[in-house]
Structures are given as structure tokens and as C-alpha cells.
Symmetry: D4
């Protein structure tokens, strides 16, 4: 909170007048730049810059946000980007990369300090891979080594057990599954690390677009499991990175 | 269909008049005895006598139904019987037995031909035992040897694996679980026998009285799994017996 | 469990060194071949090879999986295959057959031992036929004679009754219905065989894409009925085959 | 509409002044008597007097309403009356009768013109009888002969078929069922009369307090079926009477 | 039931042999003609021929069913027919008529005896008209005069009141509404005739495709109201006709 | 109520005959002009003319309604208008304006008396802007100054706090948010003015098309908050105007 | 914002040191007094003191909170108070009053400035009165005249119309209804004032504890209607007061 | 994996025979001791001993499990213990402590190594304290310093902001809230540490026993937030400890 003290001291010194002091107290936090309110304070508060969620935005809105963040020299991450959206970004940012299955766009402008320990991304089935990749690429964007363990759903439990030691080598585990969503429970019973469960919308009939997997994960009988929204690979990757870098 | 032929032939012979022939065609099937319509034809059609579901019935209604079935010399099974209900039965039928946890009442009046193969009842947790016992006792009522495998939920998957050979020795498997309901998927991946999944209402919060386990089981990624209603141990035991005795 | 004994004995003999013994213990179970983890152990554990669920997969992923299974000389079954998916398969496997309504692809490479008893597939309405065919063709893929009984929904109950003897001639019954899903209850009251109920997404308004039929079937007042997921014809056919071949 | 003409004419004649005319126009409809607004116009509009729904009311409120209606010489009907509620009524109205299972109270003060045709009340199981009785007694309260057909659920369809001719003799059919709620579909396929379906809250697990039966009935594949609220025996009986007396 | 007597008598006379008698007993009811089971008995049982529900059927299936019914000289009604479906029908049946908004096809081949009393179809808003027309045209198909009262939702209650006398002139009322579905309650409070409530899928957000209207109608505080499935104009029209012609 | 008195007096005078008097009593309220029932009385009763909800209507229906209202010289507002719908309107009404994002069409034919105080429209994220604009433009259509505060969701709460004084300057606040819908609670804790919460369908997975935001808002722990339907920007703007002009 | 200026000026003057200045900036807002964080700033921000929601609290917690607020000389309002809770309050505050049906406790310690205009509380049925009284008493607690209109549900719409002028005399209308919740739509079509809709949990079966009424109100086709939580009479009364005193 | 090597080597040496080797391979994992299957391997796999979930168990079952764990010298934790359950424990374990509000029982038999960093437990309202205490006491049981921040819900957001620096001092944050569940979003926007969101069942009406808070938290617009089951304070405390001690 030294900033506030600086402002107060400057005000006392007469360097700042009353009105300027009040504005400065506010301005530590954000700035209104037209249709968007840039949250300058976010890095200080939460440790990382904003990420663009492109789903409900027009290509123009996405590119504008992308440019605003790129201009500050940061690495930029955009999620749920359509191929149209990426074409619009690529016209202005030749270094931007599109990860098709995961629908992520990344722009690396500066090196990230690599984490010392790794994150495991464990996936139940092939159909869950797009969400798993969103998680894995997000974790990599923030500098974490990622260990990918694929196609080890509980209906063939030996596949999972055979890789238990590998999974235990990670500091955090992301478990991605659709249908009955049982993977995080099985993983949670094998490791002594936090498990972030990601339900996917993979399935049909009474899977209800991921609700079944979500409910299953929330009711996991294994300890150390928490859950993010359906298909929220980004959220899992971000949280895993945060834990891995504590 | 020889019965119908007999009636038709008797009618042709003049042994039966028209009205009697029509009544006889109907009477092959059932008889109206006041507040209940006894289904005489049920054993012929489905292979076993009626079972009394006592949940929404008064003690008097339960005892009346019990007596009607006992009078025919059959073994009698009543499910969801309260302790009050059992006391009412026990006053008239000293041989009736009450299985407290499962809330079943059985009356054995004649020997049942034992099945050659057994049924495994696999349970996720201690809290699921009342439902598992309803299934196991029902299977035993119909003459099936039962193998009880308890407390082998997926959060400690090695407990289940260690008993895989035992489970594989059964002809049919009943898998009982609440919370996230993942057990049937794991079992289904281990055996080449039909798995009857029974969701239980054990859990809290987003388990919604068994809905989560039910949905999870319906979406099982393992093949050979089918599902009965929440807490329907009787239904599972009955079906398992039917399959085991094919 | 002789395999494990062989490995242990070879290890004791010195035929296997420690590292190889450990790998061999694992390798009895599965093999990691890139983006897929092939479950070699599945036939031993569950009695049949993997089936390809094509719904959420790219044509390439489907063909790759198809090829991997075909290479082992097995008959191959793929479900929920789009016409694009089939074209991709057909380019490489001229013997592959597409069952349009059911969206199944089958490749028969060796004869299947025919089952001695048959499976009845009973359908409520014409609109339920695609799901019923998925069940029937799956049962036939595994070598079971199938008896198809169509268009016998409960609103014209005499149609069902007239065919009761035929249905009773089967060892297992699959009952397929959408809308109010009452068919399995009626069938379950007529036969002394296991009834596998398949709710379909046929209907409108408060049928909620099959939820009503699903709930109705789970609450069936007939005994011997169990339920699979909405539109899961494959699951029903597979389970019916498993029971029919016990 | 002659009343309005009378008022207008009287007003023109000078028999009524302006204020009185306006009040009289309103007063054709209702009267505010403290905590209740008596709907005098209801008989004219809908053909019968108000019925007391006692569920959420205090005994005092119930008795007050009962007295208000009784004072006008009408026959009085109160539904969902607790035994406490009935005791309060019985203290003041010795002729009031309590139908325990159905929780109805009736007070007959004058003869009802009997209907020429009858109403059939068809019930799936013994546990559904309280709701069925609410329907049957309501129909009788309004002067309709009632034919009670009990315990003819679809799991023993021959019981229902055997009584088809009886059911067809009625002018309107009320079909009462819990669990999977399939009875109205079967009945609707047998008769050429309107079928009023009443779902009951009988069941457990995925019956969800009657929701399954309700949904099943709304999706009936039989024509001529409409549905009332869960456990709404009164509503069915009232509507059946209205149709029967058209 | 004279048919059965005729068969039995003929059998006794020796006119029919045993096998033929059994077949004849069955054949009173239906006939299996390939992919469809024609329900010959339906007119006797329920008073009218089958109606084709075209939603989930292929054009070929629809035309086949249409032809089968037309061949018997009956008037034919098909619901939920797409424009493609109608073109296929029109190629073979030049007299077939398409009611675009309601998506009904009718073919009149013989005169229908007109009903003496009329049916009112009351609609809340312009957007509900397609469903209302399905109901009205169905009622007319069965020979009932129909009174259409449009755009009288409860948010402008005087519009409804002004037409109360008209509505009361009908023998049965169909009330069609989406959104909050309040119209049937208001109508039910105005008339002494059965009200058939039809919820429509008109609305947005928390209208949930008609669920809100459906629930609202099931909970109507007015007596004499029953409900059919969401958007089920046909069902309402059919039932109204059945009641109107009792 | 002077109108009624005038009619009554005229009738007494003989200026009106009986039939005309009755018609005049009705006609104060509405007029049936074919497929629509125009609610003349609406301005008197509710203070403003009808608004056209175009979602489920054909372009022709929309234009007809638009013309009917425009002909009376009123300003006209249509919501949820597709671009096709607008083109149809624009052909006849050159002054009609299309607000693309909000999908509103407005036609200003006369000046509106401006309100003295303003309405704040506070929005959580960029994706919520279309709904927010529907609210803001509706409020402006009825003559209210509107203060737009964008992109101030609770995950960056300082952005909201910094603008608290601005928000407090308004007389009514509309708070628009999707996802977890927390904005109205935060706003409600900052101001002493009514807060109208508008949930939007923005989000994915367990946001369920706005249900989560809706439920969140209904459970707001802040006082002074009420809620309208999902995406109902118009309803919020209309209500805000009504309150602002009291 | 003068407070902040005072602190800053005092700090500049040297009257306040740095630490005290920072504490003072914070302390304008709240104070931590053990298990509760008193929100001193609430009156400034939102115009009224805290209200005690007693539902999930122990009597001790309720009395402590009551005492804390009473000590500041304010009038105190507590909602959802059990009779046990009230006895605990009454021991210490003899002036506290218990409104039994509404379960409110009020303590008036100083006069409230009466509002110039009134609030109408319109109730559908007798069973909804407790919630309506919670709303009415809350409105009176904040000094608003309240007009109570009872028992005017839409099934007897004339009762409502007859009182339309009375309702129109109020500045804000609260409409309270359970079951199908149609009252607010009818009221909203009659008045040009904001309507606050309160769904109640009155009903049975498919009323789902008030969900049906809630959904119905959210989908109201009348403009000017917003909704609060089920049974939230307090919220409606508070908001109505806020609007009435703008 | 040294254990497996030891067994294999011993077997090679002849120290172990074949059968014993196989048993030993299994026995590394668990032991069947009657009605419970003790998971010896759990500490190795997941880092901590089993915890007793007492909700659905009889006092005898709880005490047995408690004794089994206590006998191994570990500290014991039991959750959801009724006062009856505690009395049964206390009879045998005088050192066991009951935390009434949280319903936890703890038995400390040996010192726990204290964590270097702390966990913040932030609570929205007084009614959420029991769940928050379950989380806090669990975290303390595992040796973590806990910082309790109470009564800082978003409706008085300044209370939360004032304590932001304190919250930021923790390594992990648990945010506990019922009703609209907005607290985790606000907290997540303030800190750069993982936030574990715990929805509680506190609320009424449309809070649906915690579903609203759960959904709200799953849809949080803040990054770094994950969710556990409704009222699952234990799960949050356990996971927080796991993260804090990485």
C-alpha cells in the first residue's frame, strides 16, 4: 500500500492539490478507455494480465482488446477464438499462433520464467482432447512444463494405474473427462497432489452437455479434488499454474 | 397357448356354453377380489409371484396382501416394510423374518431350487449397505448364492482390483454406489458379465438424493452396464436372479 | 492368472531381468501407441474388443482407430458414424458396411460363433427405428439371432399382446420407446426374461429429448427391467448379447 | 346478460340513481366480506359454487369459509382437510362427513340432480387410491355415478383389458397412476371417451414426487388424453363431472 | 363384442377350424403389413382412424402411411408435415390440402357429420397462432364448428372479458398461450365448460421453450382446466372434438 | 371513470339506445381489427402504447402491427427485430431507425417530454452490451437521460467503486450481467436507488443460457433489487422509465 | 464525499498523522465488532440501516444483532423470526412487537416521516397472506401508507377489475401469488405504476414450492413488472418503499 | 516402487514362494477387516490417513472406524458427527474434542508439523459460519495457521476491500457463501492466490439449497477459482492444506 502513502505524503507536501489527490487515489486502479475499462491494477492484485474471452465478442472487439494488451508488451492469450477471429488477429499480429483444436490464440512477446515443477493433464478419452489442450496450452503459456496423459478413462483402469508414478511426479493434476466424469475420483485416490477436475460436454443423452460429469466431479469421494466450469480448460490451466508457482 | 385350445374345444364339444367360454377366456388371467386384483397369470407370464411394495401402504393393506400370497403356499417377499408393518405381519406369520437394514420381510414356506452360479454384490461405501443388502437378500430369496464385496469405491481403486478375480467368478454383478456413482464403470471395465448399476441416495449437496449417481451410471463409458432406479436394491436383485437363472 | 505366474517363473529362472519383468507385468494390460492407449487386456477382462464411438471424433481419428483394430484381424464395429466418416473408412476398407439409419459401420473379417437363443428387439413406433436398429445390428454383430417386433406401442396394446408368444421365445428383450416410454413396463409384465429398456429422444415439448421416456422406464412398475442411456441402442445390443451368451 | 339490461333500464326509469347503477353493475359479480372476497358470480359464470382448498389455511379460516358457503344452503365441499380441520368443522356442522383417505369433507344440504351417464375412475395401484378417491368422491358430490376400477396397472395389462368393456360404458374416464404413469396411455388406446390423467406422487427415487408420471402422461401417444396437476384428484373429478353433464 | 361371438359360433358350427378361429380372434385387432402395424381395431376402440405424426419420419414413410389410410376411403390427417413432406404427398394425392402455418395436411374423401355445438379456440398472442390453428383445423377436420378468438392475453384483460359471452356459447374451450400461460386460468374463471389448456413454446429466457406456460397451466387455480403437451394443438383439437360429440 | 357516466347519461337522455349503450361500454376498451385485437384502452390504463415484440412473428405481421400503431401518430418501438424484419419496415417507414446490436426499431413521430432525472445502465462485460443497449435505448425512447457505465464486473471491483458517485446520481439503476450475475448485488450495496437486475444469456457450460445469472440475482443479499427475464433489456428499460417518471 | 475531504485536510493540517488518516479513511465504512462486521456506511450508501434476517441464526445471534442496532437509536426490523426468537428479543426489548403470520419483529424508537403516496399490496389467495403481510408491514415500517387488496386471483377476474381504481391510486403495486402466479400479469395490464411481483411457495404438485409462480412472473407479458425471490415479502416491501419515496 | 522390487527379489532368492509373492504384491495395498476394507496404502498414495464421514453411518459404525484409525496412533478426524455420535466416541476416547457448530470431532495423538504459510477463510454471512468453521478446523487439524475473515459479503463490498491486504497475506483462500454466492468472484479479483469456493445451503426460495451459489461460483468471471460441493467445508480445508503444504 505504499502508493497510497506516496499520494498522501505528496498531498501533504503540497505537491498534489486536493482534486488531484482524489483522482490519484482512484487512478491507481483502472482507466476508462471508451468501450472497455482497462484494469491496470490487475497484475498487482492477481499476478497476471487480462485474458481475452472471445466467445460472445465480434472480431473487431477481439482485435481491439488484443491490440490494447499487446501494446503493453505483455504476452497475450485469447480463448475460444473462431477461425474468423484468428484471421482478424493474424492480419495485425504476425507472431500470433492459433492452436486449432483448443481454439486458443497466443502471442509471445517476452520470455516467461519457467516453473521448476510440472503439471499433469490427464484425459479420459480422445473426444476430451480439445478441452485438455486448452488447459495444457494455458499452463504452458504461463511457463509450466506439462505432462500429457491421454485416453486413460476408468473403464480400462489399468491404463491409468500404469501411469500413476508419472502422474505423481507432477505438482498439480488436471483431470479432464466427459460422460460419467469418474476420472478425477480415480486420480484423486492415487496422488497426494491437488486435482483440478474439468467436466467436458462430451457425451449424449443423459450427459446433458456436461452436467452429469460436473455433478459427478462435485460429489467425488476422493479428497483434494475441486471443480471448474464445464469445458473450462483455460480456468483449470490458469489455476494449476497459480498453484504450481506458489 | 394350450389353455385357449382347451376352452375352444370344450366350447365346441358343448361342454362350455357361450357365456362360460367367454368368462373362461378372461379368467385365465386374473381375479378381482375386492380392493386388489390378483394377477393369477403372473407366474406363467413372468416366472414369479407378486412382491409386496409396502412403502405407501397401510399396515392393514400390507398384511392383507401378505396373507393372500401366503395362503397360496408361496414364499413371500415384502420390501420397504417399516418396523410397524413388520410387527403387524409377525403377529400372524411367526415364520416371517425381518432384515432390519434392508427393511425386507421374507417368509419361506417351501424350498427354492438353488442356482448353479452366483451373483456378486459390490458396494462402494459403508453407507450404501442397506441398498446393497436389499439386492443381496432378494437374490438369495430367489435361490441365488451371493458374493458380497464391500467398501471398494473408486477413490481406493486397488481395493477393487484385488478382488477382481472373485468378482469375475460371478455370473452377474450388482454394483451399488452413491455420491459420484463411478463404481459400475470401473467394475464394467474389469468383467465380462452383465453389470446392474444401483444408484443410492447417499451423499449431500449436489448429489441431489441420488440423481448424480444415477446420471453417472447411465453415462458409463463401460459396456455391459444397465441401471435401475435410485435405491432400487430389490429391482437389481430380482433382475440379477432372472439373468442368473436363464 | 497364469500369465503372471509365467512372468514370475521366467524372472526366477533368470530368463527375465528385473526391469523386463516389471515391464512385462504392466504390458499384459495395454500399450501406448501415440494419441491412443490401446487396451490389449480388454478382451481378456470383458470378453470383447473395443468399439469405436465416432460422435465427437474427426474422420481421421475414426479411421486411425478403425485401422488399428482391423489390423488385429478382429471384426470391427463403429457407432454414430456420419456419412463423411463412412466415406473415409470405405476408402481403406472395401468390406466395411454402412447401416444408414442406425449410423453403424461394421467390418466382418472372421466368422462369429452363432448364439443358440435369440434376442427380441421390440419398438414402440416407426420413429424409434434408428435406435432399435442400432441395438439389433449390434446384437447381430456379436452373433445373436434377432427378432424384430415393430410398431407395437401401448396406445394399441392388442398389437403387443398378439405377439407376446413370439417375444417370449427370446432369451432377452430390448424394448425401445420415446415419448412416454411405457413399452418396457408392458413388455416386462408379459415375459419372464430380462428387459433392457432404451429411451429414445423421439417426441416434442415435455418429452425433453428423451428425459421423460428415461424417467418413465426407471420407474417401471414391472420387475426385470433395467435401463440404458437415451438413444443408446449399442449399449442395449451389447448387453443383450452378453446376457444371451452367458 | 339480462341483469345488465335490467340495471340499465331501471337507471333510465329513474328507479336507480347514477351511483347506485354503478354499484349495481359491480355488485353482480362479488362482495367483499372482510378477509375473503366472495365470488357471487361464480355459479353463473362457471356453473358451481366455490370449493374450499384447505391445505395452507388455518382451521379457523377453513371453518369460516365453510360456514359462509353453508349459510347459502349449498352443498359444501372442502379438500385436503386435516383431521384437526375436520374436527373444527364437525363441531359446527354435524352433517359434515369426513372421507379419511381422500381427506375430503362434504356437507349435503340439498339433493343433486343425478347424471344420466357415469364416470370411470381407473387406478394403477393400491397406493394411488387416496388420490383416486378424491376424484371419485368429487364426481359423486356433483351427482355422477362412479365406476371404480382398481389395481389395473400396465405391468399386468390383462387385468385392464378384461375390464375394457366396463370402462367403455362410462362417458368420461379418470386414470390415476404414479411411478411411470403409463396407465392413461393404455386406457386411451382402449376407449373412445375423454381420458383425464392424474399423476400421483407415489414412487421413489427418480419418480421425483410425481414428476415422472406427470411427464409421461403429457407425452402420451394415445389421443384424447389431458392431464391435471400431481395428486389433483379434485380437479379431475370436477372436470369429469363438467364433461359428463354437458 | 358381437364379433367374438360370431367367431365362436362359426367355430362351433364347424365353419371355422381351430387355427382359423385363433387367427380370427387376433385379426379383429390389427394386421402386420411390413414396417407398420396397422391398427384396424382403432376405430372400434377409440372412435377414429389413425393420424400420422410426421415429425420424425422420412417423406417416404409419411407417404406410405398416408396412402395406406387413404386406400380405406377415410379422411386422412397428418400433423407436423414439412413442406418437403407435403410435396411428396401432393404428387400422389391431388386433393390433399396443406395448412402452412399449422403444418397440417388434410385429405377429405367423404363428408363428416357436423357437430351441433361449437368449440372455441382462444389465443393469447399472435405468436401462438400456429398452434391454435393446429387445434382449430383438427377440430374442423372432425366436423366441429370452430369459433376463433385471437389476441386476448391477460395483460389486456378487457379484450377477453368483452368476448366472454361468445366464448360461453361454445361447448368446449381450447385456450392457447405461451410465456406465462395465464390465459386458461382467466378463461376457466369465466365459463362453465371444460377448458383444454395448450402451452406453446413461444417466449424467451426463462420461458424454457414452453415449460413455464405448461407449469402455470397445471397449477391453474381455476377448476375445469386440463392440460396437453407443449405445442400439442392436435391433441387439444382431437380431445375437444371427442368431448363436443359425446 | 367519467366515460362510463357519459354513456350512462346519454343512454338515460335517449341519445343512446340500449344496444348502443352496451356496445359503447365495451368499446371504451378495445377494437377487433382482424388478426389483431387493438387495445385502445392501454394508454389510459398503463400510460403507454403497445410495443411490438417481433421474435415469433412474420415480417408481414410485424409491418402490419407497426403500421397500425404508426397510423395513430404515436412513436413506435419494436423489439427483437431481425434485419429482414427491419428491411420490411424501412420500405414503408423511411424514418424508422434500426439499432443493430440491440435489434430495436424506433420511429419517432413526435417529441417526448424529457425526464428530469436519469437512469444508469451498468454492464458487467462487453458481451452483455446488446442487452444493455436494448435497455438503454428503450429508456431513451421514453424520454429518459441515460448514463452508460460499461465493463465494471465484480472481478475487478475497483472499476465499479470508482464510478459509484456517478451511479448514485441516477434515480434508477439497471444492472446487466451474465455468467455468475453478481453485479446487481454489488451495485445494490452501493446505492439507495432501485436496482433492476437483467440476467443475460452470456456464458457457457453451467451458465445454462442465463439461468445461473437469473438465480444469482433473485437471491441477491442486497436490498432494493428486483429481476426481469433473461435478456429482457426492454422490460428493464420500460420499468426504469416508469419509475423515473413517477 | 465531504468526509474524505475533511480527513485529507486534517491530515494536511497535521491534526491527523499518516496511520490515523489511513484508518480514518477505512473507518468511514465499517467496524469489526467480533463475530459481526457492522456496516456503518450502509445508511449513507443505501439510505437505511441493516435488517436482521433471522432464518439461519441462533436466538443469541439474533438478539445480539438486534441489540447492536437498537443501541444506535434506530427503529429495528427483523424478518423470519421464530416464536422462540421473539421471546428472546422480548425479554430485553419490551417495546418489540411480533407480527405472527408474517414472522416479523419491529421495534419503533423514533417517528418515521410518512410518505405522501401509498403502496398497494394485492394478494391472489388467502394462503398467500403471510407473505403479503411481510411486504405490507415492511412498507409500513418505512413509513408508507399501505392499501391491502385481498383474494382477487385471476380465476375470478371481476373481483380484481372492481378494485382497479383503488389499485391505480397507489404509486407502487406489490402483487403476491402462488400456484400459477398469474396475478401480476393481470395487474400489470391495469395500472401505469411499477408492479413488484412476489411468488409464494403456496401450491402443491407441479408448483414446486413456488418455482412455477416465479417462472410465470418472470415471463409476464405485461410491462412494468419485476420479480423478487420466492416468499420474499420483505424484499418487495423494501423496494416498494424505496420507489415510493424517490 | 522399491516394495515391488523387494518382493520380486525375495521371490527370486527363494525367500518367498509363488503364492506368497502374489499375495504380497496385493497386500501392499489394503486389508479386508470384516465390514470395512482398510486402505493401508492411502498415506503412501495420497499423503494422509482416512477421514470418517459420519453422515449416513450408525454410531456403532462411526465408533468402530474411529477406533481402527486411533489404534494406529494417528490423529483422527470425523466430519458431520451428530451429538449422539460424539457421545458414543467420547465414552471411549476422552481426548476427543467436539466442535459443535461445525459438527467435527478431532482426536490429536501426536504433534503436526506446522505449515509456514497460512490459509484465509473468508465468509459472506453469519449463517455461513458452520461451513466455514468446518473448513477452518480441518485446515488447522492438518497444521495450517488459519486467518478468519467474517461477514464480508458483496452487498457491503467495502468491508471486504478493507481486509484485502490481510487476505493477500495468505497462501490459499477459502471463500464461503450462500444465497447468490458472489463472494469468490470478488475475492478472486483481489488476490493472486488460489481461491477455493464453497457454496452453502444458506438461503431460501430460489437458492434451492445451495444450487444457486454453486452455479454462480462455477461461472465466476474471476480466474483462479475452483469449487467444491455444497456445504463441503471439509473438502475445502483439506485441499487448501494440500496446496499450502506443497
Amino acid at each position: 500500500m505504499s502508493d497510497l502513502e506516496t499520494i498522501l505524503t505528496s498531498f501533504k507536501n503540497g505537491t498534489l492539490d486536493l482534486k488531484t489527490a482524489r483522482t490519484a487515489i482512484d487512478a491507481r486502479f483502472f482507466e476508462d478507455v471508451g468501450h472497455t475499462t482497462i484494469d491496470h491494477d490487475r497484475i498487482r492484485r492477481t499476478g497476471s494480465a487480462e485474458v481475452i474471452y472471445a466467445e460472445h465478442k465480434t472480431p473487431t472487439q477481439v482485435v481491439d482488446a488484443f491490440a490494447a494488451l499487446a501494446a503493453r508488451g505483455e504476452n497475450v492469450l485469447a480463448t475460444r477464438v473462431s477461425s474468423e477471429g484468428f484471421r482478424a488477429i493474424a492480419e495485425r499480429f504476425t507472431g500470433a499462433e492459433y492452436h486449432t483444436a483448443a481454439r486458443l490464440v497466443t502471442l509471445q512477446q517476452k520470455a516467461v520464467d519457467p516453473a521448476a515443477t510440472s503439471i499433469a493433464v490427464v484425459t479420459a478419452g480422445t473426444s476430451d482432447l480439445p478441452v485438455a489442450e486448452e488447459a495444457a496450452l494455458t499452463a504452458e503459456f504461463y511457463g509450466n512444463p506439462v505432462l500429457r496423459i491421454r485416453d486413460v478413462g476408468v473403464a480400462g483402469i489399468h491404463r491409468l494405474l500404469a501411469r500413476a508414478d508419472e502422474i505423481r511426479s507432477a505438482q498439480v493434476v488436471i483431470a479432464v473427462a466427459g460422460m460419467e466424469g469418474a476420472l478425477p475420483s480415480a486420480v484423486g485416490g492415487l496422488v497426494d497432489k491437488p486435482v483440478i477436475a474439468v467436466p467436458t460436454s462430451v457425451g449424449y443423452g443423459a450427459s446433458f452437455g456436461g452436467i452429469t460429469a460436473l455433478l459427478s466431479m462435485l460429489n467425488s469421494c476422493a479428497s483434494g479434488v475441486s471443480v471448474v466450469n464445464i469445458d473450462n480448460g483455460f480456468g483449470a490451466g490458469y489455476l494449476a499454474s497459480m498453484i504450481n508457482r506458489l
